[in-house]
Symmetry: C2
Subunit: 342 residues, 2 copies
DNA sequence: GGATTTCTTGTAAACGGTTACATACTAGGC
DNA sequence: GCCTAGTATGTAACCGTTTACAAGAAATCC
């Protein structure tokens, strides 16, 4: 027939001599179509070189098989690794990922979320539990499911998957306390709009309090997420007349900075200073001295977040709060303080 | 009126008492609508809490304001940085990015490209110039523009933006040659399906040939992109009875591995071994010894790729082949070989 | 002041799929 | 052999926008 469309599903239908409905069925729900028809349609798809038009499909089915993720920054090994895992998993189940960054700005995060909802994502992966007030309302209005990743807060009515940062930081602090340190400082990430950073500081403080250890306020420094900033913080800390013998760091990158700067300033790690990190990035075991740190299975965590949403969207039963284990990895950067000062 | 829609552009139209066409115009082309109407519609958008439905918009306008990018892996500082820049730029001009990974597999890349086309991307950012035969044909069939990033090949009829890897590697080799080295090895990335890696090897070989330097074949090792593999390669190279006094590396991560392993094996860098990297990642200047390497403005490069596509899609005049400058950064990891062996 | 142009807004037909519903056919049951 | 239930396929409405075209109003020209 002359009027048949040149492309799209109608072209396939014309080629196979069937209706568009059958083509659609053969593609989306193969069992609902007889074997011979299915084969004929498959052949037609091949000859026409048909690639389905996702937006059209979404418009009529109200499902995009696309998830959105908003991370503070992608330029950070840990997020990169998490996103990579999430993406790999999603790809394996036929989903795609829209990735955006907020730069630790809550307004920007809301803006991005709006953008993603506009884009028609089926679900959203968010970082932590610290969001703009309007965010959850907006997601509820448009009934877009979401999950907070990287934290474990079973007390919240929202799904999450991650480690208990407070407990893990407590463990890290306990490690240096048990080694005999009493003069302990902390270099944390910026706590503003970052519940993970805050939780870690809280865990650290709890450990200190439980052992009756007082810490001078100047031993707590907050830094952005870069090696340079961490080095500067270390320079400050090590330059104090009254300085700590151990430093617990909010993450591994900060710990690297402290390590590098200590060595640069002539301090030996761990003899003069013990350093503990958090995250266990690749470099931690390669560095010399290698870094004692809290291992967090980042890849797993993000993949689980994806699994949760995919299952939820498929209508399956899911558990809302999933705790991911952490573990303390003791390496060369921590030792008893008795070796040097007492 | 009772029959007016509860949501979508029709709700806004009803609220403002205008037609959907006017709402659409007010949103997409504000100038085409009178000021008072524009204001009334803006108010209606606000009260209704309207978020446009991108797939529907795309279906009718044939434009998605979305680009796709396919990288070998995101779990790699350099790509992460590039993607971050691209993403930031796109976001600033109202575009979004679909990010997928191919794992250095050409078939997977084609598959991902098909997926992205299906998703309706307006353009595609690809890595290098080594793709599946069917890829360019498919993109041509669906008239999806693309650009190769990270290479500079003005001889090709396809757009690209990046540095001349051959020339840059030549420069790196020249550096150690000029320092007086004659016993020079190379640890490159896997050349299979990686034209950048091959170009770098070629540049290195050209420099060697130009100076009449012969290299025993066992001094060329190829490794995947991980610290562990690079360390193993270094262990092998340094374990040879007849070993080089300088090693040129295919990228910084490989160089880090060589550096770490050399130190671990008791060799001093640069006294016993000079090491040159390529890319100038963050760690290069922080490491001790800091790494001599080729600096490549990765962020710029990727942003330019985005700019090219956005301009091209806007119908603006664009230059097809954009060369991005590299520069040799001399740091502590290279020195004249005379200090030790001669 | 009437004709012509320009500007503003509305009407309705796409865009490319999915899917509720209708229909034709097949196979059992008795 | 007729009725019923079930299966396979087709018909066409609909998803939420954009946009070509039409129409009405205002401005310009002579």
């Amino acid at each position: 027939m002359e009027r048949s469309a040149k492309q799209g599903i109608r072209a396939v239908a014309a080629e196979a001599g069937v209706s568009t409905a059958s083509v659609s069925r053969a593609l989306n729900n193969p069992d609902s179509v007889s074997a011979p028809l299915r084969a004929r349609i498959a052949r037609a798809v091949e000859t026409v070189g048909y690639i389905p038009h996702a937006p059209a499909r979404e418009l009529s089915s109200r499902r995009s098989r696309t998830l959105g993720a908003i991370v503070p920054t992608i330029d950070n090994t840990m997020f990169a690794r998490g996103i990579a895992s999430l993406q790999k998993y999603l790809s394996s189940v036929g989903y795609m990922l829209f990735l955006t960054t907020s730069g630790y700005d809550l307004d920007a995060e809301l803006e991005q979320a709006r953008n993603l909802v506009s884009r028609g994502v089926d679900g959203l992966v968010l970082r932590g539990d610290c969001h703009h007030d309007g965010l959850r309302k907006m997601l509820a209005d448009y009934s877009v499911p979401f999950i907070n990743v990287g934290i474990y807060r079973p007390d919240r009515p929202y799904p999450c998957v991650g480690t208990d940062n407070e407990a893990a930081a407590h463990r890290a602090a306990l490690h240096v306390i048990e080694l005999g340190h009493r003069r302990i400082g902390i270099v944390s990430a910026l706590q503003r709009n970052n519940d993970r950073a805050s939780a870690r500081v809280a865990g650290f403080r709890r450990a200190m309090a439980e052992h009756g250890i007082k810490m001078p306020p100047q031993w707590h420094v907050e830094v952005p997420y870069t090696l340079d900033d961490a080095r500067e913080a270390a320079r400050y800390l090590l330059g104090l007349k009254d300085r700590p013998t151990a430093v617990v760091c909010g993450n591994d990158v900060i710990a690297y900075g402290v390590l590098l700067e200590a060595e640069r300033s002539g301090f030996s790690v761990p003899d003069d200073l013990s350093v503990v990190g958090f995250d266990d990035l690749d470099w931690s075991r390669h560095l010399r001295p290698s870094l004692t740190t809290i291992h967090v299975p980042t890849g797993d965590t993000w993949q689980r977040a994806g699994e949760y949403l995919v299952r939820h969207l498929a209508g399956e039963q899911t558990i809302m709060h999933h705790e991911v284990d952490y573990s303390l990895i003791v390496r060369e950067s921590t030792a008893s303080p008795t070796r040097s000062s007492k």
